[in-house]
């Protein structure tokens, strides 16, 4: 006979405001098998948990139902408490009378009746709960970091410094990401290259970091502690082991007019190239789409001049498999290219701003390259159209961001600060120039941030105009900016030499495809979702996968670095044990009933289903059945739902438990 203890929580007033908790306890106490039903103000607090523990021991309870919040909130808390009182943690269930009841109803009478039903269902369910022993799996103490921007670099360095091997994968030919493109950084105006490149060198020299550049993630299999990752190393056409990085190939390459993506396509590069001189690794890549040799079969100059004979036109893409225990995703962001209306996306584009049509309408990242000492103009602010210095420059903020009607409702967070920085950089370089900024409002929370913004106005003479721009058009060699100043209530028209648009921060293209490979969730903009917005901000809901940087949402550098170190700390927490204990909520196959149709195998998203042979004592094959590897199983229950013969049961969610709940209604 069960002796069930039911503990009803007030959750301060969250539950008791709408539900008569005393009555719930009294009604549920009458159910057969319930030995004790009581209520308490905060069940999850220390005295609340002690009440539960004491009751288990004194009343010799066999099962526990905690009627409180969602199991996502406190199931772990209460199962731990139950365990410390000597019961198997899986004999404890949560009845969610907060999210599913008190928060969504107003009528006290009806909500109380519903709460009684919910708790009653869980009482019937818990009667069918079985003791589930914990499952342990080994942990591979190597990690994968996807993305070699500042987030990936920081996470990789932190993990590697703790003595664990890191595989760092970068899609571009060099690590460095967007931070390597920046000129100076707010709020201190220190040079981005000066603080970034030493870190890139540290990565290259670190004995515990294995670097794959010009490589992509092809396939991810396995589970926390035991991932198998297939990496596609794109053909570089240059042997990394032979190349000395002397650069003669680049000097001799006849194809010199290819827009360099690193310089936002305003600088030019050769067909065999490193994206920038400080690239890590300093090994060139042949851009096969633009190389004369690949296009016509004739040329091969780079091969002829290469001393060590590193140029290899025959090189093929190669697949490499790496075993890792944890994955840090740091794929970063991209700027919203506003002329585009991406297919299947809610984003509508900004044709009216002439971006892509008027050459001197550029985005913020292009301005960074113009202002950068290592950029295509050597740090001079010059117009892309005619190379003249702009004397009147207009910055427009919130392009794309915070514009629900245009498809993006979020704030890109970094634009207010970098536009303030741009006005300063402009003022430092063009002393007789004037900068105007159209803005909705300045968002400058952060250490020394507001002071920085004030400085751009008070000391660097930027004119801030509160209001938005309706239209831009070319007039002679000027760009006419038509906007409104809502503070004064007048229309403004400025004849500018150059316009810089603070376009929205978006996730990298293909972020959704990578997420599908990793089995992690993302929002409608394809930013990756954390497990809990407040309490688990660097972990994915998928165990063993962590997030760092702007792939999760717009972030500035300090925030990205903090999150990367936090993700590294999470990886280290995982690696601190040799064995990983995981929840025993896994599927089991009943051999006697299984007819080996393997429908389960087809639908299993974790690849956990294997074929198992059953043999008699003489070793003759009796039958083949499906087998679920408990280490791999994610406990999603898809196999259970699919199995036509109902031969699969998910521990903790058996048909018996579910039917018991339905029948209790």
């Amino acid at each position: 006979m069960s002796r069930i203890g039911v503990f009803v929580c007030h959750c301060g007033e969250n539950i008791s405001r709408t539900i008569d908790v005393e009555r719930v306890a009294a009604e549920v106490g009458k159910l057969p098998g319930v030995a004790l039903a009581t209520d308490y103000k905060y069940m999850c607090s220390d005295p609340g948990q002690n009440l539960l523990k004491k009751a288990i021991q004194e009343q010799k309870l066999t099962h526990v139902v905690v009627a409180a919040c969602s199991p996502r909130m406190h199931e772990k808390t209460f199962r731990k408490a139950v365990e410390s009182a000597g019961l198997n943690p899986f004999l404890c269930e949560m009845a969610n009378i907060r999210e599913h009841c008190s928060w969504v109803h107003e009528n006290r009478e009806e909500a109380t009746a519903k709460a009684i039903d919910i708790v009653g269902m869980m009482v019937e369910r818990v009667k069918k709960n079985r003791i589930l022993p914990a499952i342990t799996v080994p942990v591979t103490k190597r990690s994968l970091v996807i993305g070699g921007g500042i987030a990936g670099i920081q996470a990789a360095l932190d993990i590697a410094d703790c003595g664990h091997e890191v595989i760092l994968v970068e899609r571009e030919p060099s690590i460095g990401g967007h931070m390597a493109q920046l000129s100076e950084t707010f709020p201190t105006l220190d040079c981005s290259q000066c603080i970034m490149t030493p870190k890139m060198v540290d990565v290259a020299n670190h004995p515990m970091i294995k670097l794959y550049t010009y490589s992509e993630i092809e396939l991810v299999e396995g589970y926390i502690g035991n991932f198998q990752v297939t990496i596609k190393k794109n053909a570089r056409s240059v042997d990394e082991n032979k190349c000395t990085g002397c650069g003669v190939c680049m000097a001799k390459c006849p194809q010199k007019k290819i827009p360099n993506k690193f310089d936002q396509n305003i600088g030019m590069r050769t067909a065999i190239f490193v994206p920038f001189p400080q690239a890590v690794p300093n090994t060139p890549v042949i851009d096969r789409d633009n190389c004369t040799m690949f296009k016509t079969g004739k040329c091969g100059v780079c091969q002829k001049v290469c001393g060590p004979g590193a140029v290899d036109f025959e090189q093929q893409d190669r697949l490499v498999v790496e075993a890792v225990g944890a994955i840090v995703v740091a794929t970063g962001f991209d700027l919203y290219s506003i002329a585009e209306k991406p297919k299947g996306s809610p984003i509508k584009g900004y044709g009216e701003f002439g971006h892509g049509k008027i050459p001197d309408v550029i985005d913020g990242m292009t301005f960074e390259r113009l202002a950068s000492a290592s950029g295509p103009t050597g740090g001079k602010i010059l117009r892309p159209s005619d190379g003249r210095e702009p004397k009147q420059i207009v910055f427009i903020q919130c392009i794309g961001s915070r514009a629900r009607e245009k498809g993006i409702s979020y704030c890109s967070k970094v634009c207010c600060m970098y536009t303030a920085k741009h006005t300063m950089l402009y003022h430092h370089k063009v002393h007789d120039g004037q900068a105007y900024v159209f803005f909705m409002d300045a968002r400058t929370p952060g250490k020394s941030y507001d002071e920085f913004w004030r400085r751009s106005i008070e000391e660097e003479e930027a004119v801030y105009i509160r209001g938005m721009v309706s239209r831009l058009y070319q007039k002679g060699d000027k760009i006419v900016v038509m906007g409104s100043d809502i503070a004064v209530g007048v229309q403004v028209e400025i004849e500018a030499d150059m316009v810089v648009l603070a376009t929205a921060v978006q996730p990298q293209k293909g972020a959704d495809i990578l997420a599908q490979k990793l089995g992690i969730s993302y929002d409608k903009y394809h930013f990756y979702s954390e497990a809990h917005a407040k309490l688990r901000p660097v972990e994915c809901a998928t165990a063993g996968i962590y997030l760092a940087g702007a792939c999760q949402g717009p972030k500035d550098i300090p925030e990205t670095v903090s999150q990367a170190s936090a993700a590294a700390a999470k990886v280290m927490t995982l690696f601190s044990k040799d064995q990983l204990e995981r929840e025993p909520i896994v599927a089991r196959v009943r051999d006697a009933n299984c007819v080996a149709c393997f429908a389960c195998k087809k639908v299993c998203p974790y690849g956990a289903v294997e074929e198992k042979e059953i043999r008699d004592r003489q070793g003759n094959l009796v039958k083949v059945v499906a087998y679920v590897n408990p280490g791999v199983c994610g406990g999603c229950g898809t196999c259970q739902a699919t199995c036509p013969s109902k031969s699969v049961e998910l521990d903790g969610y058996t048909d018996e438990q579910i039917v018991a709940m339905i029948e209790a209604l």
Binding site: N593, F598, A599, K602, S645, V659
Partner: protein, 307 residues
């Protein structure tokens, strides 16, 4: 207007089956053959399993060879010892079931010797086996048949099919009629049909795809489907059945033939097949397919139902 269907090829087909069976069993190429033999009633035909060359003479093929013999090769049927290769006589419609079973890992192609039969149609379950095959007596499934000549078999008698007379469709017409009804009207129709069910499970026993060793309807812990023939349990059973067959059933219509209460079971199956075709461009039984549309997700799948 009633039209007589030319069944003259059946004699030559039967003769060719007998010769091939004799050869297979005398050379030991197969250990047993599942085929058709004459039954007691005039014109009637029943399934038979033979395992010696002499018995090959018993094999026949007529328009009364209605059974889908694939059912005898499934796990649920233990009658045939699973030793060596087994020969089986298959009509085009039956072959689709075998193909489905291969995709579900129940049979291996290399363990089968397929004797395909060119077939002009078989008799409906509602007529006597000795009657002439006409546009009136032909089984409804044969009216919509697209597999008169099975493909991919090990042996097919070299007999040319006579030209086929186009016949009026039954299932397609009936589906169109039901689709035009309101949901309430369709519900009423099926409630009336299911109310006839006596839970004899003949439909389950005769279906090649009901190969579970223990049907979930026979479980009692927990009981998924009420066992007594009452409306709620009947509806549950038939919905479970239809759902389990969606994307698998290729329309041999054995369930409908075996049903003593004349419930139009294949109509339900055809409706499910139609849905699958419209949603996923998928037709069961055309090729060995290890992941049907309901077990896979592709980005081409219709998402419009997610709102």
């Amino acid at each position: 207007m009633m039209q007589v269907i030319d069944t003259s090829i059946h004699a030559a087909v039967a003769e060719a089956i007998r010769r091939e069976a004799q050869r297979l069993l005398s050379t030991g190429e197969v250990s047993a053959i599942v085929g058709y033999a004459s039954a007691r009633r005039t014109g009637a035909v029943q399934p038979i399993v033979i395992n010696d060359a002499d018995s090959a003479a018993q094999l026949v093929f007529t328009s009364a060879s209605v059974n889908n013999l694939a059912v005898y090769l499934t796990t649920a049927k233990k009658e045939i010892p699973k030793t060596g290769k087994i020969g089986i006589v298959v009509k085009g419609c039956d072959l689709k079931a075998l193909v489905g079973l291969m995709g579900e890992f129940q049979l291996k192609r290399e363990n089968l010797y397929l004797i395909g039969v060119p077939c002009v149609g078989v008799l409906a379950s509602t007529v006597q086996p000795a009657v002439e095959l006409t546009s009136e007596t032909i089984a409804p499934k044969c009216r919509e048949c697209d597999a008169h000549l099975p493909t991919g078999c090990d042996f097919v008698p070299d007999v040319a099919l006579p030209p086929m007379v186009p016949l009026e469709t039954k299932y397609a017409t009936e589906i169109a009629r039901l689709e035009a009804l309101t949901p309430a009207g369709r519900w009423a129709y099926w409630q009336e049909q299911f109310a006839k069910c006596i839970k004899c499970y003949a439909c389950r026993q005769v279906c090649p795809f009901c190969f579970c060793e223990q049907c979930l309807c026979d479980r009692n812990k927990p009981q998924m489907v009420e066992t007594t023939p009452r409306p709620s349990g009947n509806t549950a059973w038939h919905i479970v059945r239809a759902m389990h067959l969606a994307g698998r059933c290729a329309g041999c219509a054995e369930c409908e033939r075996a049903c003593p209460m004349d419930i139009p079971l294949n109509l339900l199956n055809r409706k499910m097949a139609k849905e699958l075709k419209e949603l996923f461009e998928y037709e069961a039984g055309l090729e060995v397919n290890e992941s049907g549309p309901l077990a896979t997700f592709t980005d081409k799948d219709d998402q419009s139902f997610i709102k």
